[in-house]
């Protein structure tokens, strides 16, 4: 009897073991693949009520990436998805083409880095006609029916640059070259005049700055770098101070100064606090840069659209904070990453 019982228990144990092994490992497998599949399908997927698109010229630049992140984060907090349009497309569309796409896609709002071109005006007007609010950012099209403009006070920014120039000149006379982007962007003209006025009014008696401007072709591909190299090739006319008005030219000038061994000879005043620029300031290759609060910029864009969608009107102009970064305070910005703090 005892032996029978043992045998029965053994058999039952074997069968039970097989059942547990089978079901257990299959269940384990199911759970594993299920978890993986879940991860595949909707990893942190959230549905949003509004859909805004952001259309900029240079999607790859640190500056715009940072602005987009600011806008995206601000949007996420008020049920809005913000897309940097054109990012996932196989064709590199122009801003105008992307505007067409946005209008055809019936988005809830467009944030566009505009210029004063006619085509842009038409597109903005068409969007407005379709009931899509448009906010221009950094670059404006004053003639169009855009709802609001979010930008840096270019005149104030010019004044900041002017002060930097005065600091660099001291009691000497120095040649200053301002690298302007071409196109119908009036904002840079405003900026330039800001520099000019500041230098004229605030310069101490002894010092003097001779301002000059050069247009850098930033429309066609690789042209900016080439035209900046051209300046350095002609070493006889090399200016004492170079002022860059965008992120790309800042990077190019920085590299050129190093390549042509002009560190210390040419002072560079940059634009935007990308990590490489900050590094350059730390190494004293670049004298200073202006930091635009990109997160704030993105946030203002979304806020403007939201406000318009909600109330039907919105203030025409949002000004974003600007800070000067130089060797004295660069440490603080480097710690804070991209420096948009």
């Amino acid at each position: 009897m005892e032996e029978d019982r043992k045998k029965f228990l053994l058999c039952a144990g074997i069968v039970l073991f097989m059942a547990i092994a089978t079901v257990g490992s299959l269940a384990f497998f199911k759970v594993q693949t299920g978890r993986m599949a879940k991860g595949m399908e909707r990893e942190g997927y959230e549905e949003y009520g509004n859909y805004y698109v952001m259309i900029v010229k240079d999607r790859g630049s640190e500056f715009w990436k940072s602005v987009y992140e600011g806008a995206r984060d601000a949007g996420a907090q008020c049920d809005t998805y913000v897309e940097l349009l054109g990012n996932n497309l196989s064709v590199a569309y122009t801003r105008e083409q992307l505007m067409e796409v946005a209008i055809s896609s019936h988005v809830d709002g467009i944030i566009v880095e505009a210029d004063e071109s006619r085509e842009m005006k038409e597109l903005i007007d068409r969007a407005a006609a379709e009931g899509i609010p448009v906010v221009t950012v950094l670059g404006d099209n004053t003639a169009a029916e855009r709802q609001s403009f979010v930008g840096v006070g270019n005149y104030n920014l010019g004044r900041e640059y002017g002060r930097q120039v005065i600091q660099l000149c001291g009691k000497n006379t120095k040649n200053v070259l301002v690298l302007m982007g071409n196109g119908q962007d009036t904002s840079q003209n405003v900026l330039y005049s800001g520099i000019q006025e500041t230098v004229e009014k605030e310069m101490p008696m002894e010092g003097k700055a001779v301002l000059d401007m050069k247009t850098v072709d930033n429309q066609s591909r690789f042209a900016a770098e080439e035209s900046i190299r051209d300046i350095f090739m002609d070493s006889g006319k090399l200016p004492d101070i170079i002022i860059c008005l965008d992120d790309l030219s800042t990077k190019c000038v920085y590299q050129a100064v190093v390549d042509y061994n002009q560190v210390g000879e040419v002072d560079v005043i940059g634009y935007y606090d990308s990590p490489s620029t900050l590094q350059a300031i730390e190494r004293q290759v670049v004298y200073s840069t202006v930091s635009i609060d990109t997160a704030q910029m993105g946030k203002y864009c979304v806020a403007a659209l939201d406000e318009y969608n909600e109330l039907g009107n919105v203030s025409e102009y949002f000004s974003v904070d600007v800070t000067v970064i130089n060797h004295q305070n660069v440490e603080k910005y480097m710690e804070g990453g991209a420096g948009d703090a």
């Binding site: 058999c11 097989m18 693949t33 549905e47 497309l89 067409e100 896609s105 019936h106």
Partner: protein, 502 residues
């Protein structure tokens, strides 16, 4: 216990079938599980590129709309119109399947944009065709222009989305195929494990079935070798093996009993033969001793008879009687030595013997009898009483100062007869009695002056006659002490018939 039919009581056929079915069922179940999981896995793999297939279909439908519209604008045929309607419908159906929600997933947003752009596009194509119908050349040209532009955008969007999806899907596919491999490993592992377990299970179960058979076979082998002493087999099950084992057990028991019976009967036969032989041997011994002791009794008897006749003729009565007794004595010896005689004849012999001795020793022996005459007919072995009386005279009363006396009593004690010979002689010590009864007293002590037949011979013959192993059942010697005489008692059982006669 009996009512409860357990697995053990199932037939062999059912047991084997059950084992096979159970193990097969387990393997089948495990396989089924595997099959289901692999199937669902394959289905999932199939679905990975489902999105791409859909997008391809969408792209194709879009191209058809564009082509049919262009064809209509070119030719304005009914066919192209019909084509346009059909392709427009197909495309619309596909577009409506697209997700139009907005979420923080770029691909979903692209899908939404495709949907809205496509709707816009379809509207535009329709307006273009309307304008063509109205032959408004400028309008339809402008609209065609815009529709084509939009077509390009949508195509780019679909293409890009397809690309993006393909990238993620490929990643998913890779992950899935990795887990597919792990599923393969798991299922192989499980199958091997289940196979091993099933082997163990089958061994255990079949052993349960075959073990009693093995035991039975071993036992049968033992029996075949002639060893019936094996213990009974335990019956564990109620199947055919159990039945056979039971039958085998019964067979062993009955064979053993049979052998036992034969043994006993052989034993009895042998004992009887032995007894007969012993009896004969003792008689032969007695006869031999008698013959050694006596001269030819026939000669003696005839001579004594002649002497008796002579005495009668001379009118010498006493002499005649004496010689007559002598003749009787010898004749008895001659005749009855080797057979069973009656008690009466034995008593007559004792009478003659005592008479002769009294003549020899001039009446010294006072012989008295106290006999239940009805017992005279019972059979007794010959030559029993005379040797005892002779002993009484030789060792009991010879040489005592007082008158010697011998009393012979015969009386019944229920189912047996007691023959008592008592003297008033010197008596016997307890040790001597013990020695006589155990037969260890030999030689001169007892046979010195007897006429040849010793007391031990008498005791042995009595034992054989009564079939008793213990001499105390047939003879008893009592003595109250020095000079207080001895009594010898012989007990003879009465057979039923004798008992009735008495």
């Amino acid at each position: 216990m009996r009512e409860k039919k357990t697995v053990r009581d199932l037939s062999l056929h059912t047991k084997i079938a059950l084992t096979l079915v159970t193990t097969s069922f387990i393997i089948f179940t495990v396989n089924l599980f595997m099959y289901i999981s692999i199937n669902s896995m394959v289905r999932r793999l199939d679905q990975v590129y489902q999105g791409n297939l859909k997008l391809n279909a969408l792209e194709q439908a879009l191209a058809e709309v564009q082509n049919s519209m262009t064809a209509y604008l070119n030719t304005k045929t009914y066919d192209s119109m019909e084509d346009y309607y059909r392709s427009e419908q197909d495309f619309r159906a596909l577009v409506e399947e697209l997700d139009d929600t907005v979420g923080n997933d770029a691909m979903r947003v692209m899908e939404r944009n495709i949907r809205y752009m496509s709707e816009h596009y379809l509207e535009l194509t329709w307006q273009t065709i309307e304008a063509k119908r109205g032959r408004n050349v400028e309008k339809y040209n402008a609209r065609y222009e815009r529709a084509s532009e939009l077509y390009d955008y949508i195509s780019t969007y679909i293409y890009s989305l397809n690309n993006e999806q393909f990238k993620t899907n490929s990643y998913h596919y890779e992950a899935l195929s990795v887990s597919f491999q792990s599923l393969e490993m798991i299922s192989n592992g499980i199958l091997v494990c289940v196979l091993l377990c099933n082997v163990v299970l089958t061994i255990v179960l079949t052993r349960t079935i075959t073990n009693p058979l093995k035991t039975l076979a071993a036992a049968a082998d033992e029996v075949a070798k002639g060893n019936f002493g094996i213990g009974l087999l335990e019956v564990h099950s109620g199947d055919e093996v159990g039945v056979v084992t039971n039958a085998f057990n019964k067979m062993i028991v009955s064979i053993r009993a049979y052998i036992e019976r034969i043994k006993t009967s052989m034993e009895t036969e042998r004992a009887m033969k032995e007894k007969e032989l012993l009896m004969e041997a003792h008689l032969k011994d007695a006869q031999l001793k008698y013959l050694q002791a006596q001269i030819n009794p026939h000669f003696l008897f005839n001579s004594l008879n002649a002497g008796a006749q002579l005495a009668m003729m001379e009118d010498a009565d006493k002499t005649y009687r004496y010689i007559q007794h002598m003749a009787e004595f010898f004749r008895y010896n001659m005749k009855k030595n080797n057979e069973t005689v009656t008690l009466g004849e034995e008593i007559e012999l004792v009478d003659s013997y005592v008479y002769i001795l009294n003549v020899r020793f001039s009446g010294e022996i006072h012989f008295r009898k106290n006999i239940d005459e009805s017992l005279n007919g019972i059979p007794v072995p010959g030559m029993i009483l005379q040797p005892i009386v002779e002993n009484c005279i030789n060792y009991g009363i010879r040489g005592i100062d007082r008158e010697g006396e011998i009393i012979l009593s015969v009386y019944g004690t229920g189912d047996s007869v007691c023959i008592s010979i008592r003297d008033n002689g010197i008596g016997m010590s307890r040790e001597k009695i013990g020695k006589i009864l155990s037969g260890s007293l030999k030689g001169e002590d007892i046979s010195g002056s007897s006429n040849g037949i010793g007391l031990d011979n008498v005791i042995n013959r009595l034992k054989l006659f009564t079939d008793s192993a213990d001499c105390s059942d047939v003879i008893d010697i009592l003595s109250e002490g020095e000079n207080r005489g001895t009594e010898v008692r012989i007990y003879l059982p009465l057979t039923e018939k004798e008992y009735e006669d008495v």
